[in-house]
């Protein structure tokens, strides 16, 4: 995020785009509510009537998959009505003329059919955003999980640049990141193109720096993104194939798109190592399982969504019968056995090594995290006076070599797999408020399990339910070109009749049996928010209920779960 979460409440206008804070980040969502109480206007852009829509001044209930058409149209109106910040554009950016030319054809009337939004509402939204004086954009997976995603992010940045909404308190654009430490894993260089601290592997000086620090020659070839692994296992020529996969704290056999293909690739691997705290769908394919300490059993640092480094601390010891090690210790031992010794006493020693290699993190010492709790990078000086940085791009200085922001001019592209006669509905995935990721943690929490359990729900407009003759709670079969699953019908006016929605942590109601592995060409993120499906009524509900129970029991038995519970249950 360019700005801190604590700044949200001071914005005068919030453009909340494809981001459902109430379900994915309840504690961030309360800042949206507080902003409203302090007088901010709220525009909610979402195909569903989410909680934010209920308190919004304007809800643009766009058609799924029309993001960039709408964003370009907002730019069209801002430019056409002369609401741009011309000084900011002239002094702090380049590429505006190209964008101005491109968005000419995106009048609100021209995109009305694509977006299903009335032109007057697009105009109203553009005026509100451009004239508040302090507008902030928050976006989420409703932007990122499309085959056209990065260019929508750039399109949202266009709006912020052309109205000068960058580099001050309470403005900017905020991708509110999903998992607790997804920002941290990126910060640490668990990315195929960058060393820790966003230092690119293809830059010779960067490579030389890390070669010197680590004492070995390093590769300057950009690595394989996670979502390309099935292709590299199954379809690449022999000399390019991936043969060994070391999966650490992830569950691709549950969380990745097109599970049929994922399973096939896991089976084909010569060697699969899974390091985790719980049995997962993926660990069933493992050749080796390495048991690690859980979040409450070790020390370290997380980075929250607005670049804040915070300590995690060991709260309890692992269970007495658990022969587990910390993740970094396991990897260090394997490295040492492979001839590259790694010896660390504790996480602080590792932290001190890495912050000295990353100029933007150098000042964020354990001492400061103890003292200030939260230190937002960039924090460059170890001096206690440097407490970090709440918002980026101060005074319009951007991270590009010339220090200026760059406009992006890109046309809208329709989603990859469109609805058709055989699969007439739009299928999209979303989040469950009480569960997390593949639910290996929350599924094992009594209270959260009691809130929601297998096989999950499919959100359907009541008119669609009526047409298909299905009622609330009834089991239905959901089918796409790639697979099918069984889940429960949840009629809700929150969704339009043309689209249905499922959350992604269920084994029986596994929505990723249906999803498509169409990827954004830059981020390589799958199009989880759009593919074509149909919903089928199941006539024999008694059979269906039995099927769900039996399948659930079968999967748990394959994982060796004691049906009576574990040692401390």
């Amino acid at each position: 995020m360019s700005n801190g979460v604590h700044e949200i409440e001071d914005a005068k206008l919030l453009l909340v785009f494809g981001y459902n804070g109430a379900d994915s980040h309840p504690i961030v969502a309360r800042r949206i509510v507080r902003a409203k109480r302090k007088g901010a206007q709220i525009i909610c852009v979402d195909p569903r009537r989410i909680e934010t829509a209920r308190i919004a001044d304007l809800h643009l209930q766009l058609k799924n998959g029309s993001n960039l058409a709408l964003v370009n149209s907002l730019a069209h109106v801002i430019i056409e009505e002369g609401l741009t910040d011309n000084a900011f554009i002239a002094e702090r950016s380049h590429g505006f003329d190209e964008l101005k030319e491109l968005v000419k054809k995106y009048s609100p009337e021209a995109v009305a059919d694509i977006t299903q939004i009335h032109p007057d509402d697009i105009r109203k939204a553009a005026r509100l955003y451009a004239t508040s004086g302090q507008s902030m954009i928050l976006y989420g997976m409703g932007v990122c999980q499309f085959a056209q995603a990065v260019n929508v992010v750039k399109g949202l940045a266009n709006l912020a640049i052309m109205t000068g909404n960058f580099g001050r308190w309470g403005v900017g654009i905020g991708p509110v990141r999903g998992q607790n430490n997804v920002q941290g894993a990126c910060d640490m260089g668990a990315l195929p193109n960058s060393y820790p601290g966003y230092q690119n592997v293809t830059i010779p000086e960067v490579q030389a720096k890390f070669e010197k620090a680590w004492g070995v020659p390093l590769s300057n070839k950009v690595g394989v993104p996670l979502t390309h692994v099935p292709r590299y296992v199954l379809h690449e020529p022999e000399d390019k194939k991936i043969r060994a996969y070391y999966v650490f704290g992830e569950d691709p056999a549950q969380s990745d798109p097109d599970l049929n293909e994922v399973r096939e690739s896991l089976e084909k691997l010569e060697f699969l190592v899974v390091q985790d705290i719980y049995m997962t769908r993926t660990s069933q394919y493992a050749d080796v399982i390495l048991p690690a300490t859980g979040w409450n059993e070790h020390d370290g640092v997380f980075t929250c969504c607005d670049r804040g480094f915070q300590r995690i601390r060991k709260v309890i010891n692992p269970p007495p019968d658990a022969d587990v090690l910390t993740d970094w210790d396991i990897i260090s031992r394997i490295s040492t056995a492979m001839g590259y010794p790694m010896k660390y006493k504790n996480t602080e020693e590792i932290w001190n090594e890495l912050i000295d290699l990353c100029p933007n993190f150098t000042g964020a010492t354990y001492e400061k995290m103890e003292k200030y709790v939260n230190v937002q990078w960039p924090c460059r000086s170890k001096d206690l006076a440097d407490k970090g940085t709440s918002f980026l791009h101060k005074d319009g200085h951007f991270a590009n070599p010339d220090g200026k922001a760059k406009f992006s001019a890109v046309d809208w592209l329709p989603p990859t797999e469109k609805e058709n006669q055989e699969f007439p509905l739009i299928f999209s995935t979303n989040r469950e408020v009480g569960h997390y990721s593949a639910r290996s943690m929350t599924g094992n929490c009594r209270l959260l399990r009691n809130l929601e359990d297998e096989p999950g729900w499919i959100q359907m407009n009541p008119a669609l339910c009526q047409e298909l003759g299905v009622k609330e709670g009834e089991l239905v079969k959901v089918v796409s070109k790639r697979g099918h699953c069984v889940t429960r019908c949840l009629p809700t006016e929150r969704v339009k009749k043309q689209a249905v929605y499922m959350t992604y942590q269920w084994w029986i109601g596994a929505c990723n049996e249906l999803t498509i592995a169409a990827l954004d060409p830059i981020s390589n993120t799958p199009e989880y928010k759009y593919c074509a499906c149909r919903v089928e009524k199941i006539k024999n509900q008694v059979w269906a209920e039995k099927y769900v129970l039996e399948e659930y029991a079968k999967i748990r038995a394959a994982m060796g779960v004691n049906p009576k519970g574990g040692q401390t249950a």
Binding site: H25, Q179, N180, N181, G184, A185, M188, A190, L191, P192, Y195, P196, G223, V224, L226, T227, K240, K241, I242, R243, A244, Y246, G249, E250, D256, M279, A286, V288, I289, L290, A292, H298, G300, V301, C305, F309, Q310, I312, I316, N317, A322, D323, V324, D327, I331, I334, S335, A337, M338, I350, E353, N374, Y436, C445, R446, L447, M559, V561, G565, A569
Partner: protein, 144 residues
């Protein structure tokens, strides 16, 4: 022993809320999780923050806690067998070394973890991929 209090960062979602755990050190058991003062959460928590920590006690509600290193000694399709850490570590090291020697470092892929492991473990994993194996094939679920 008296009740111990430890403050940490919640492991669900990117908000980064601060939680104070009250622990019985004799029983090695968490008694309660209460909201602490963090920059973002300011003494509040959501339902996952309040109630999302008893998985650590291995209640086997959904799955079971992994407690011992395991290897499929009979090869693909064979059952997983519990082994010592030395055996597991040496097995992984020798299989990865073999694959690297035969097919090159880019035949191996590693992931980081965006969940409870923490930044230091991610730093070590990418260093392992880059310095030990010799590949930039390291990524994590930021993409998904």
């Amino acid at each position: 022993m008296p009740i111990k209090e430890v403050q940490t960062t919640c492991s669900y979602c990117g908000a980064g809320c601060q939680i104070l755990f009250k622990v019985d050190p004799d029983q090695n058991k968490i008694l309660e999780a209460v909201p602490a003062q963090g920059r973002t959460n300011e003494g509040t928590l959501c339902l996952k923050g309040h109630y999302g920590w008893d998985y650590i006690n291995d209640p086997q509600i959904l799955t079971k806690r992994l407690k011992k290193p395991m290897i499929r000694q009979g090869g693909k399709g064979a059952p997983l067998v519990e082994v010592s850490w030395d055996e597991a570590v040496n097995h992984v090291a020798s299989r990865l070394s073999e694959i690297k020697a035969k097919h090159g470092p880019d035949a191996i892929m590693c992931t980081g973890s965006a969940r409870g492991a923490g930044n230091e473990a991610n730093y070590i994993m990418q260093k392992f991929a880059r310095a030990t194996i010799g590949t930039n094939n390291v990524d994590h679920c930021a993409r998904i």
